[in-house]
């Protein structure tokens, strides 16, 4: 009984506005998340330009397309269209959440190499914004009653290069990190746009999920 009560209490924060009447549903928060991805897209365009110039050629060349040597650990945004369409809301949001969690961690690693104060400031600002996006996705998931994915022990992403990992490969990884981040933001915009359309009217969906949770 106590365990059951604890479980209920544990899930309470994940069900916002439970006691409120006239709950607007997840629509507004999805819209906000969508807006945030577009804003981050714009912000990343500026940051990537500065950072790739800092790396120097060939990383700042327009047609630069290096092999994905050391960036295998980065979450891939590209996915088969059919697979993407078949994703359910929970999986879709979970993938987004996990991807940005990893990318944010990697992104913080860039800061240690950047020497100029301007670049450090831009990176820090972007990290803060990305943290906001992560929180926003978490909010949407909570509204819909989905639990946040728990990191498996030992799978915490690290950015410590191996002994054979040269600075050149590190620069390549940085390039891939920014590229993957950009692709994820494009994908997220589509994801949230799809969710937004799907959640109209939002009230029924919330009720449905609340029921699914057993309340």
């Amino acid at each position: 009984m106590l365990a059951c009560l604890c479980t209920v209490l544990w899930h309470l924060p994940a069900v916002p506005a439970l006691n409120r009447t006239g709950d607007p549903g997840p629509g507004p928060s999805i819209q906000k998340t969508y807006d945030l991805t577009r804003y981050l897209e714009h912000q990343l365009r500026s940051l990537a330009g500065t950072y790739l110039n800092y790396l120097g050629p060939p990383f700042n060349e327009p047609d630069f397309n290096p092999p994905r040597l050391g960036a295998d650990t980065l979450p891939r945004a590209t996915v088969n269209l059919e697979v993407w369409r078949s994703l359910n809301d929970k999986l879709r949001l979970t993938q987004n959440y996990e991807a940005y969690s990893h990318l944010l961690c990697y992104l913080r690693g860039l800061n240690r190499q950047a020497a100029t104060a301007e670049l450090r400031h831009s990176l820090a600002h972007f990290c803060t914004s990305l943290q906001g996006l992560l929180g926003s996705i978490a909010g949407v998931m909570a509204t819909l009653g989905y639990p946040l994915p728990q990191p498996l022990p030992g799978t915490e992403p690290t950015w410590t290069p191996g002994p054979a990992h040269s600075d050149f490969l590190q620069k390549m990884d940085d390039f891939w990190l920014l590229k993957e981040l950009q692709t994820w933001l494009w994908r997220s915009a589509k994801d949230f746009n799809r969710l937004k359309k799907k959640m109209q009217p939002p009230a029924a969906a919330v009720t449905l999920h609340l029921e699914a949770h057993g309340f």
Binding site: P67, R112, Q113, D167, F168, K171
Partner: protein, 976 residues
Amino acid sequence: MALFAVFQTTFLLTLLSLRTHQSEVLAEHLPLTPEALKVSVNSAQQCLHLQWTVHNLPYNQEFKMIFQIQISRTETSNVIWMGNYSTTMKRNETVHWSWESELPLECAAHFVRIRSVVDDARFPEWNFWSSWSSWQEVNVQDSTGQDTLFVFPKDKLVEEGSNITICYISGNIQNDISCYLEGEQIHGEQLDPHVSTFKLENVPFIRKGGTNIYCEEKQRKAISNGTVLFVSKVLEEPKDFSCETRDFKTLICTWDPGANTALDWSKQPSQSYTLFESYSGKKKHCEEKNRCNWQITQDSQEIYNFTLITENYLRKRSVNLLFNLTHRVHPMSPFSVQFENISATSAVMTWKVHSLGDYFTLLCQVELHGEGKMIQHNVSVKANGKYLLNELEPNTEYVAQVHCADDNHFWKWSEWSGRDFTTPEAAPSEAPDVWRTMKSGSHNVTLFWKPLSKFHANGKILFYNVAVENLDKPSRLEHRSIPAPANSTELTLDGCSYQIRVTASNSAGASPAAVIVVSAAPGNKEIEEEIIEGTEDGFSMSWKPQSGDVMGYVVEWCDRPQDPLCDFQWKKLGPNTTSTVISSDAFRPGVQYNFRIYELSTKRIAHLLERKTGYTRELAPSDNPHVVTNNLTSHSFTLSWKNYSTKSQPAFIRGYHVYLKSKEEQCQPGAEKAVLPDDTVCCQYKIDNPEQKTFTVENLKPESFYEFLVTPHTSFSEGPSGTFTKVRTPDEYPYMLVHVIVPVVICVVLLVCGCLLKSQWMKDKCYPDIPDPYKSSVLSLIKSKENPHRTIMSISDCIPDAIEVVNKQEGSKIQSLGTRKSLTEPELTKLSYLYLLPTEKNYSGPGPCICFENYTYNQAASDCASCGHAPVSPEAPPSQWGLLTSSENLLKALEKNYMNSLGEIPAGETTLNYVSQLASPMSGDKDSLSTNALVPPPCSEYKMQMAVPLCLASPPPTENSDLSSITLLGPSEHYR
């Protein structure tokens, strides 16, 4: 003794045997080949670390040895380096040695072997090379069989300007590979089929993030791998290293660090700076890059020997500085700067300094700035400074500042500390410079004075006091106070002599008085004006003193003589001066300046001495006189230019030139030929008196044209070449004209009178009256002789068989339409056409009509149109006349009809045609317009003389015969 000899022999034998044994041992174990050779690799440093030992060394003592080392690359036979290494070693001791490879060790396998030789003078017999040790292979990277491309060295840190070799190992990759440095392809040489090397010389610093070198497979066009070369700037030696103290508690050391050698990606931080003092043995790591504070301890250390060490990962540099602490004292800036007892000419300045101890004296420098000048004073100070600033100017703003330095061992001045102050005013120190002008013939005196210079004013002048004292009779002093900045005043005096005193006053007091005496009898006699030559620098003039006892001289003039205010000026000169140069910025070329020189007597009375006039530079006259011609006769005329002012000219006018042009080739006496600038030749008369402003040209020819020009001339030029004025001399005998014209006029008058008197006769001859038929003698004769009953046909006797009513036009033609509205011209035309058309329907055929024909006035046409075959309907407006008059074609047609009528009418059928040549077309209707000459007079206006068959007078209108209608219609279709 014997025992000693035996012992000695035994010792020698033993020693000999030992020696023999030693030689045998060495000989037995030779050669001394190095053993246990181990090779380790430092890839980052590209170093091979070798260690070996020599086991065969006899005894446990040090041997001086030489090791020869051979290093091969790729294969043992490819020896790339060989060298010797000398050292001392003992048996079994391990020797360490390092070798740095220019090629990254990963690029190829390396092989090492060593041999040795004993280089010890004690053992010359062992001085030969041992055999080589076996080859030791060093293979850092084994890429055989791998599909990955490797580029070496990895992330190498080098200094700017150094040379570096890189390589790539392609492994199993078969494609061609190109390598690039920051986008620029680099070319190398192939070391073996899988390894290529690239030598980069004098590598530049590009960015802190490193220089990217990368290789790609040509076929795939994809980057395979690369490396980042971190190029650091060269660490510079600190410049301008210096230490000083300001308070004997802290030493402040400063230097110029030069370029920052920091690199990103944690490759190299900024260079560090460390301060080391050798006497105390203390060391301090400096937090800042260009300065470091060193705490002075109380152990009374005076001499310091500092070493500033800077280093980064690649280099270490240091500079040294040895000094005595007491010689590096930089005092702090003085404080509490004050001024005491400020007067008009002096002030006391005080300040305080930070104490450096009882044994220190400071040298302080006081600077006084004021009036664009700077004065420096040095003062020795222990704790409190004080200095008297004197010889100051009243009413002047000063800035005083002070800085100090160590008096015993000068090192540096402290920063300045200062303040400003202003001295109070003092009474003006000098009397104003006063002069006067007197209008001739009156007692009005205008006093002028010049403002005192700032130096003499000693403050702001508030007003000028003028005191007038009558010298001839005792009277009360007249005082007048004129507020500044006025510089003149006018006094009205009587005929007495007056002494005038002028003083200038400021807030502190009045100046000494300037005294001038105005004499009752100025005694200015007429003095001739002397012309002087000026220059751009002014007028130089001199004068002759008249009396020996003078106070001085005054020269007065106007800077702007043309202006009404004239900008009066004067210059006072001493009694011994008889010449001066008057110069002014206001002097302009072409302006005449007049100077008056006065002599000031000891009684301060001025007497006019001389008058001078001149130009700084004379200019050519800009215009010629306006000349009037008088007294024009057939032989002479007089030229006059009395309005021409010689005074207002830009130069002294010396006379005039009169030029005369005529057809005569010879000039009159008194004139000479001159060629004008336009190459025309004329006669020139010269007038040398500038005041002669008339000239008579004589001996001219009557009825001739002359042209003249009068131009002034100066000492160097003449006026502009203007236009000549034309003059024509009159005829010599004008009365002859009277003798001819008067008789002709009389004759004409008489002829006219005669004509008037004989006018009736003339009328009869020229245009007799038309005889009246009633009064004709012929008529009376017929009446009496042939038919006494026959009379002239009267209208009452005529029995008409047809009556045509013709409306007589009276007043306006339009009005005759009765109630009809007036028609516009097109309407008229239209209507006329319509009504003139003789349509079949309306045509009623010819009818009898009574007409009075007058062919003189185109009566036939009118008759045919109006009376004959155009019996217009009652509605037909008479305005058809307007149409007739407006058509020229019609006129022609009518003329034609008229001619036809004359020709076609048979004579026999024309019973009586009365043709009146005098009939006026206006006789019937005075209101008719002139164009109505074409209008047929109404039938009723004339007495019918006969009845004419209408068919004869006007044939019936057929298409072929009605010419007038055809002509009238023209191309119009109305007729059809």
